[in-house]
């Protein structure tokens, strides 16, 4: 009864059919399967439609439909003015006065060509101008390792961008994350870095009816508990949320119930959600694809140690990370350079001293 009422309230429309559905109400309102790619596409489509000042620029985003097809169909729909193919000039980050650009990097590895502009021109300007000049810009693209793309194309930049005041940094995992966070990023008045993941682009996830709405956004700065548990807290972002859920499923068979937190936002990080969880479970494992030194896990460790949750820890925090090396090409080496589900399981057991 309560569930169907929620359904009625949330959907707004179709109220009659919702009431009529009451007797058959077993599952959530009509959800659809959508890939991360399509969710990002939908987010951009909706925001382009909503606000004339929004436009997309990047290499191959228009006529090629996007190097990874994320912007498929947008050029056809919105034309040259709103969807712009650029030459290979990453550094031309445009401070388009009064406009709201979405800058696509073919991968974040190439953003290093433009990183001076991202930090010194985008991140710091509102501060330096004491509020006179805002920079409502979105930088988005695939981040982190793909498959077999070797050292120069596999780096994770979460820690690099997460380090800088003035930037917001988000890292979606599933389709709802992708759509909601990208829409929030586009609507935000500040520079936002959206770290997508190429391996997730083609993965379908369930999109709730709420998420299908044109006004669906996810607040930046709020983590989500994907799975409840009492034994130990796992915190991850992007692809590794999936790995943690897989590990949790295996561990559940042995009676270990993991609470899995999807960070969603790197900066500002939702430390409170992590702390609350740790105060319940007393154990923490962080999981990331990036390198260990000065990384996301390192930051989480520091923040936990500085806050109330420290006294609730029964063992030191464990960081599961990428191996501290440039990414090798050969498959066997690449597989051993990144956290596997078995590494997470191993670390959980070590942390719990099992």
């Amino acid at each position: 009864m309560a569930a169907s009422l929620r359904c009625f309230l949330r959907s707004g429309k179709n109220t009659v059919s919702a009431l009529q559905r009451r007797d058959f109400h077993r599952s959530a309102p009509a959800a659809v399967q959508m890939t991360v790619r399509d969710a990002l596409n939908q987010a951009m489509d909706e925001e382009l439609e909503r606000d004339e000042r929004v436009f997309l620029l990047g290499e191959e985003v228009a006529q090629y439909d996007g190097a990874y097809k994320v912007s498929r169909g947008l050029w056809k729909k919105y034309g040259d003015k709103r969807i712009i193919d650029t030459p290979i000039s990453e550094i031309n980050v445009l401070l388009q006065a009064g406009l709201r650009p979405i800058c696509e990097f073919m991968t974040f590895n190439f953003s290093m060509q433009a990183i001076d502009q991202i930090i010194n021109s985008a991140a710091k300007t509102y501060y330096m101008s004491a509020g006179l000049q805002s920079v409502p810009i979105v930088f988005r693209g695939p981040n982190g390792a793909s498959a077999g793309v070797a050292a120069q194309h596999s780096q994770c930049f979460a820690a690099w961008y997460g380090h800088c005041p003035g930037l917001k940094v988000v890292s979606p995992w599933n389709s709802e994350d992708a759509k909601g966070l990208l829409k929030s990023a586009i609507r935000d008045e500040n520079p936002v870095v959206v770290l997508e993941n190429e391996l997730l682009y083609g993965v379908p996830f369930e999109m709730s009816e709420e998420a299908q709405s044109k006004d669906f956004t996810i607040p930046i700065g709020k983590a989500k508990i994907e799975r409840q548990g009492n034994s130990i807290t796992l915190v991850a972002h992007s692809r590794y949320v999936g790995h943690c859920l897989d590990a949790a499923a295996v561990l559940a068979k042995e009676g270990i119930e993991c609470e899995v937190i999807n960070l969603r936002t790197i900066r500002p990080m939702d430390v409170e959600t992590i702390e609350t969880s740790v105060m319940k479970t007393n154990h923490l494992v962080t999981v990331e694809g990036g390198w260990p030194q000065f990384g996301i896990g390192a930051e989480i460790c520091a923040r936990i140690m500085e806050g109330p949750a420290f006294n609730y820890l029964d063992s030191p925090v464990t960081r599961v990370t990428g191996v501290d090396i440039p990414m090798p090409y050969a498959k066997i080496l690449e597989d051993h350079s990144l956290p596997q589900v078995k590494d997470i399981i191993f670390s959980v057991k070590k942390t719990l001293n099992i």
Partner: protein, 373 residues
């Protein structure tokens, strides 16, 4: 190794001939490379062999990629063979060369065997980078890769040229980039420094008309890439003619070695494949265009026809070479598909040079791995 079984003796063949080649467009140069090129029989057969080997190697890579034995990125060079072959013919092994990611051809011309290249593509321990580099990261003495970030290799090339000048060794550095990279700011910084300090750097733009899916007209305010160095003299060269490329490179190398500073060459060339194996290459250009280049301007066919028409070699001879190359590529493929992957002990090696062994963190704090130089 080649056993040429022909019905005619070598004495029947023309040992040397002179060919007309296209005149180069010049920028800030009073005179350019010669419009006639001399070719000996030996040279012709050697250039043919080089280009055909690169061609067959790239087509084999295409096949292996479709079988998922090669993974990740794979940018093929077929169509552009005259560039690599012509450049190598005009420089010395002691000269230097650096290019971007469409690098398999140059890896070969700079001395790495087909076997080691294919084994690198398949990620095996016998690969030239022990399987750790992959398609875009192959190196050899005086060959600096193989670079994944568009344009980043150009400042590196200027730096190598600086080293040549510093050491006074009369060597030059050939620094290659594509039409897409030609719009990168870092190139212009390199042009400035190279010209200011008169570095022996030959900047070469391989203009294959498309930067991934973007045609040159949509990317560049000026598509006269040989003029883009402004104060640096430039040549526009027919990149499908190996003799034209050779003569131009010879001219450029002489220019640099004479202490006149850098020079830019634009090689007008074409790639048959798409940008990479994940690009079919037909959404931004027509199949007719590709077919036209193949039938009218193929670099290997052009050389072969020249030599045949001047009686410098026989059809059978070329067939024999083709058969031998096919065999060589097959053997290399055999190796590349049967050689084992690198051992796990290799994972963390080669972080630092000339360093005592160090400990590397694995995926968890309990995973302590070893790294040696």
């Amino acid at each position: 190794m080649l056993q040429v079984v022909v019905s005619r003796s070598f004495a029947d063949f023309t040992p040397q001939a002179t060919f007309d080649i296209k005149k180069c467009d010049l920028h800030r140069l009073e005179e350019g490379p010669p419009v006639k090129a001399e070719l000996t029989r030996e040279q012709g057969l050697q250039y043919y062999r080089t280009m055909q080997t690169v061609r067959r190697m790239e087509l084999k890579a295409d096949q292996l990629y479709k079988q998922k034995i090669i993974r990740g990125f794979c940018h093929l060079y077929d169509g552009q063979e005259a560039c690599a072959a012509g450049i190598e013919a005009a420089i010395n092994p002691s000269d230097h060369l650096i290019t971007a990611y469409r690098a398999h051809g140059y890896t070969y011309t700079r001395g790495v065997s087909v076997k080691e290249i294919l084994a690198e593509l398949t990620g095996r321990r016998g690969g030239v980078a022990k399987g750790k580099g992959g398609s875009m990261h192959m190196y050899a003495p005086h060959f600096y890769g193989g670079n994944g970030i568009v344009g980043a290799q150009v400042p590196l090339g200027a730096g190598i040229a600086l080293a040549c000048q510093y050491q006074g060794n009369n060597q030059v550095c050939v620094t290659l980039y594509g039409d897409g990279a030609a719009n990168q700011g870092q190139l212009f910084e390199s042009y400035n420094m190279a010209a200011l300090w008169k570095l022996p750097c030959i900047f070469i733009c391989e203009n294959n008309k498309y930067g991934m899916g973007t045609s040159v007209e949509r990317a560049a305010a000026s598509t006269d890439y040989y003029k883009r160095g402004d104060f640096i003299p430039g040549l526009r060269v027919d990149g499908m003619d190996v003799l034209c490329v050779r003569e131009a490179t010879q001219f450029a190398a002489d220019h640099c070695r004479a202490g006149k500073g850098p020079i830019i060459m634009e090689l007008q060339t074409y790639r048959y494949h798409g940008h990479s194996m994940s690009d079919p290459g037909v959404s931004y250009r027509t199949r007719e265009e590709i077919q036209e280049v193949r039938s009218k301007s193929d670099p290997i066919s052009m050389l072969k026809e020249r030599m045949l028409s001047h009686n410098m070699a026989s059809v059978e001879e070329f067939k024999e070479i083709d058969i031998e190359i096919r065999k060589q590529v097959e053997e290399a493929t055999q190796f590349a598909t049967s050689d084992p992957e690198p051992p796990l002990e290799e994972l963390c090696n080669h972080i630092f040079s000339k360093n005592p062994p160090l400990e590397v963190r694995g995926t968890s704090p309990w995973s302590k791995l070893k790294s040696v130089s």
